[in-house]
Amino acid sequence: MELRKVWIIARQEYLVNIRRAGFIIMTLALPALGALALLLGALFAGQMEQVGEFFAQQLDTGAQMIGVVDRSGFFSPLLPQYAEQFIAYEHEEAARTALLDGELSSVLVIGEDYLETGKVVVLTTGSGFNAAVVEDSATVRAFFVDHILTGQVDPAIQARAADPANVESQTLSSSGEAQGEESGWGLVSSFLIPYFLAIFLVTTIFVSSGYLLQSVAEEKESRVIEIVVSSVRPVELMTGKVAGLGAIGLTQVLIWILSGWGFSGGATAIWAVSAAAAIPARVLVLGVVYYLLGYTLYAILMASVGALGTTMRESQQLAGIFSMVAVVPYMIGSFLFTNPNALVARLLSFFPLTAPTMMMMRVPLAEVPWIDVVGSIAALVLSIPAALWVGSKLFEVGLLVYDKRPTMKEIWAILRGR
């Protein structure tokens, strides 16, 4: 392979496609939306305060005081630390009146048999949602526990009863070793980052394959392809296109990141650095490896399949088969969260077309067996030259057949060298 020719083709593809209206519109759409949001924010800065007030009014449940009608005797008098949030009423009618007048957000009516039944009636205005909010409130929970147990048990036990568990999760490896503490941020990033990378991979595959298809189909439709292949080998042409259009995809991502950085005053970049720091090095390195191998494999396949179609539409239909395969791991995504090392996930990890997305989703979720990592990378590494060989063969005939698509029989004959 002559690298100089590959470079010339890659440069040409890059320079031609970066000027395409479709690329410019798509690349600028995201920063434009950001700019629009900023502009609207600036324009309606004054009005936004009023808008905020409107929503605050809609969401405001009114007064924050909670009335208490105690018939059990456990809550009388109210402990002093709750005096700012709770107010005792002797009669329920008075509490109801105060609630309807907007002086209270809710009323707790505690029955005489509270100790036996735990029965408490919550009175609120508006929707039943407000009662649910009161029920789940940590403050209300502490209010009950403190009134029942004060003076009965050790204050430490009382505090634990009010807040029984401060959860901190650890994941064990197969050998039983803890893989480090996971903070809330670590947990979020362990889901967020792999999903971001996997979606990024598939998006780039779709975008770049679209350009590859367009590039190949245009050269074929305009009949310029025969002049080109009289100067370069199909493998050089394909490699140059894959490299040039890959660079286009990276340019697009770079523009998005830079524009995000610009609009957020650097916050996005800081987030990206923090996110990267929170991800284990193993996940980050493998993510990049699977991304690069996955893109290369798919780009080669898209380019070669694109050469078989007689029109752009036909090429896109053919390429759709591979796009469908690429998203299979997402279809079993929810199942993966609970069992990342399930047999089906492991099998899909060894299949080159699903290996990149499957492994990028599995690696952050659990300790993936090393044989899966090695096997999936080996499958991708071996399939790339094979795809390049098959693709070049298909190029050889597909590109020069203008009137009809080669049949499966003809393709098989080409691959067998006949």
């Binding site: 100089r4 305009s222 009949r223 025969e226 002049i227 292949v229 009289s230 370069v232 020069l400 006949r418």
Partner: protein
């Protein structure tokens, strides 16, 4: 320049090129002729290393096929250009793919555009050019890298008479510059004017091969054309006399040589203003050979 030996190419059960052998010599214009589907384009694509043969040997400029791409130019029958690319950029890109340095390619492309009167269009997109302009541009795209050997597959296809003359002149100029040209065309009148030697292939096999003049002589009809007032009725060896536009076509009997007819006319004192062996156009030879084979 080109040496093809026993070349064979199959598409499934169809034999496109069948044990074909021929040679193209340095600085000649060689005609590669044949009916549609005869195997001409397949043969050219194999020589250009676009297709791989099933058998036989191809030597181009003393090297195996594919190793001399930088020195070979190609104007394919199925041709086109990047419509959205600028005219000069198109030529520079194609020259670079042939191994020419960018700066050299730019100056050569500019010179060629001047030669075909497109210098004012260098910065315009290809799609803005008229069809005739695009055809001229396609022609120079095949020679922008200054090749020694040039394949022209149907270079006159779709051209108006004015552009046919332009391309003819360009081919003649290239020939004078020492280039070797392989010309495939269905326009036999142009092949007759331009080519030194020809190869006629049918069903992938060579059916005529050699100097055009010799082939024409070989296929010359047994007719002489005489421009005179009248032809004596008792002229020996004449099977028929056919008046033709102020002249007479004399169909000779079997075994009669045209020299014998000329001598007999002179002996009888006939005033002869013109006498020639009736020429046979190449298209008639084509039809006779290919048609005979088909029959």
């Amino acid at each position: 320049m080109i040496q093809i030996t026993d070349l064979t190419k199959r598409y499934g059960d169809v034999v496109a090129v069948d044990h074909l052998s021929f040679a193209v010599r340095e600085n000649e214009i060689f005609g590669l002729l044949g009916p549609n589907g005869a195997g001409k384009t397949t043969t050219i694509r194999i020589i250009m290393d676009i297709l791989q043969p099933d058998g036989g040997e191809v030597q181009v400029l003393g090297q195996p096929s594919g190793q001399a791409k930088a020195r070979v130019g190609y104007l394919p029958e199925e041709r086109g250009l990047y419509r959205n690319l600028k005219v000069l950029d198109t030529l520079v890109y194609l020259a670079e793919l042939k191994g020419m340095a960018r700066s050299v390619a730019r100056s050569r492309a500019a010179a060629l555009l001047e030669r075909i009167d497109l210098q004012d269009w260098a910065g315009r997109k290809v799609k803005e050019l008229s069809q005739g302009m695009q055809q001229r541009l396609q022609f120079v795209a095949s020679i922008v890298h200054d090749p020694d050997l040039i394949f022209l597959d149907e270079p006159f296809q779709g051209l108006d008479p004015l552009n046919v003359e332009r391309i003819k002149r360009l081919i003649a100029d290239l020939h004078r510059e020492g280039k070797t040209i392989v010309l495939s065309s269905h326009q036999m009148n142009l092949v007759e004017v331009l080519c030194d030697r020809i190869l006629l292939i049918n069903r992938g096999q060579a059916v005529l091969y050699g100097y055009l003049a010799e082939i024409k002589e070989q296929y010359a009809p047994n007719v002489v054309r005489v421009r005179t007032r009248e032809v004596p009725a008792d002229l020996p060896g004449i099977a028929a006399v056919e008046p033709d536009d102020g002249a007479f076509n004399l169909v000779l009997g079997a075994g009669v040589h045209h020299q014998d007819v000329l001598r007999a006319l002179l002996d009888r004192g006939v005033e002869i203003r013109a006498f020639e062996v009736a020429p046979v156009p190449l298209d008639k030879i084509f039809v006779r050979v290919v048609g005979g084979e088909e029959a």
